[in-house]
Symmetry: C2
Subunit: 240 residues, 2 copies
């Protein structure tokens, strides 16, 4: 499976080596690279599902193709051409820009296909064919303070729970303490082992960050009355 | 020095324990907590300097107070009430919302005091008293793809170079390999030591990420023709 081809479904040629015709240009879609068990990719899926149910299904289907890859594919050379860090989610825009890091992709989706700041993030009507101007979609709050609060919740998740901060062997995200073995096993390759001391420290970190979170979140959703990016981000990790 | 007091300069009372009068409410400012040598705090300073020079100096002076603290203050109990992670920069909004993590604060500043998406980020005139509608300020690009590219550059800096992903002892950002000692010294407290093996891995990580960066950045600024958050973020770290 060559991902440099997959991301060009209409031409089956690498974008670097073909001058797309007008036809293939109009057909070209953004491509979202997903792995079924990834909690970080899951928020992208959730965003598309929620926005699809709120009147953007056709827009998203016409604009974005999802390519689900296997865990083993992450280390392949062809995937390295999609994301040199070998992580999912990744996203290639229809203009050929390669994005990775879930929150960067979420920002792009929101920016391009989501709530329109100029209309207060509203659309008219429900379901297919809805247009902007109706009830607020609510995934991005209305005020700078509330938006920053959501960004902070997402940031704490990404930094202190769900991402390594070094791509070298045996550096891990904090969440890895829940499932990475101290020595090489069937489930933990040598490059991802986590010693017992590190595991203990990271388990303490989860406790600390969840304690902070518990004291800060609002109700019924994490940032108050409506679902936001904070919920889409923390939910898949909480049930991982 | 009690930071819970400092952040309320007009009332000298904790926000939790006083019902501010109309006068103190109108006088209350946002507070930016800075440490002189922090590369992550420096981007906040740069943003205010650049935007101040582009017609927002009065707005920023009227709205934001900077409190510069010492490195030793970061571990104090009073600062823990500002930012429980004991890091700078931190920022308390005039509504009392406590923010930390530099990119979250940068997003807030841009959102509240920066480019107005509805006007294409333009202001009329230059210097004091300028109003919106003139030339683009350019710190946030005009298209979703370019905005996402800037966000990606910032994200790579934050995750893989400049932030720990665990607040427990002896976990460090990648940049720490440039100056943290393997054993306790005058300059490295016991909680921040970095062993030689970790240092070697993190030095390799810096090389890898800078290699990626070198291949991706545009010219003359990192994202092309104008200065963006990517430059404000990477510059202080590059000269750190």
């Amino acid at each position: 499976l060559d991902f440099a081809l997959v991301r060009m479904p209409s031409s089956a040629k690498s974008i670097e080596h073909s001058e797309p015709s007008a036809t293939s240009q109009t057909r070209r879609k953004c491509v979202f690279y997903d792995v079924a068990h990834s909690n970080n990719a899951a928020r992208i899926r959730l965003w598309m599902r929620v926005q699809g149910g709120r009147g953007r299904r056709r827009l998203l289907e016409d604009s974005i193709e999802t390519v689900t890859i296997g865990h083993d594919d992450l280390c392949s050379e062809s995937y390295a051409r999609v994301n040199p860090l070998g992580k999912v989610p990744a996203f290639v825009t229809d203009a050929g820009l390669h994005l990775f890091e879930a929150s960067v992709i979420m920002g792009y989706l929101e920016d391009r296909f989501g709530d329109d700041p100029a209309s207060g993030g509203r659309i008219d009507g429900e379901g297919e064919g809805a247009t902007r101007g109706g009830p607020s979609l609510g995934l991005v709050p209305d005020t700078p303070d509330d938006r920053a609060f959501v960004n902070l919740l997402v940031r704490i998740h990404d930094l202190y729970i769900a991402s390594p901060n070094c791509t070298q062997p045996s550096f891990s995200h904090t969440q890895g303490c829940m499932y990475l073995d101290p020595t090489e096993t069937e489930f933990t390759p040598a490059s991802r082992t986590m010693d017992v001391k590190t595991r203990a420290a990271k388990a303490a970190e989860i406790f600390k960050q969840l304690g902070w979170l518990e004291g800060r979140i609002r109700r019924p959703f994490m940032a108050g009355e409506s679902m936001t990016h904070a919920d889409l981000t923390w939910f898949p990790t909480s049930v991982f």
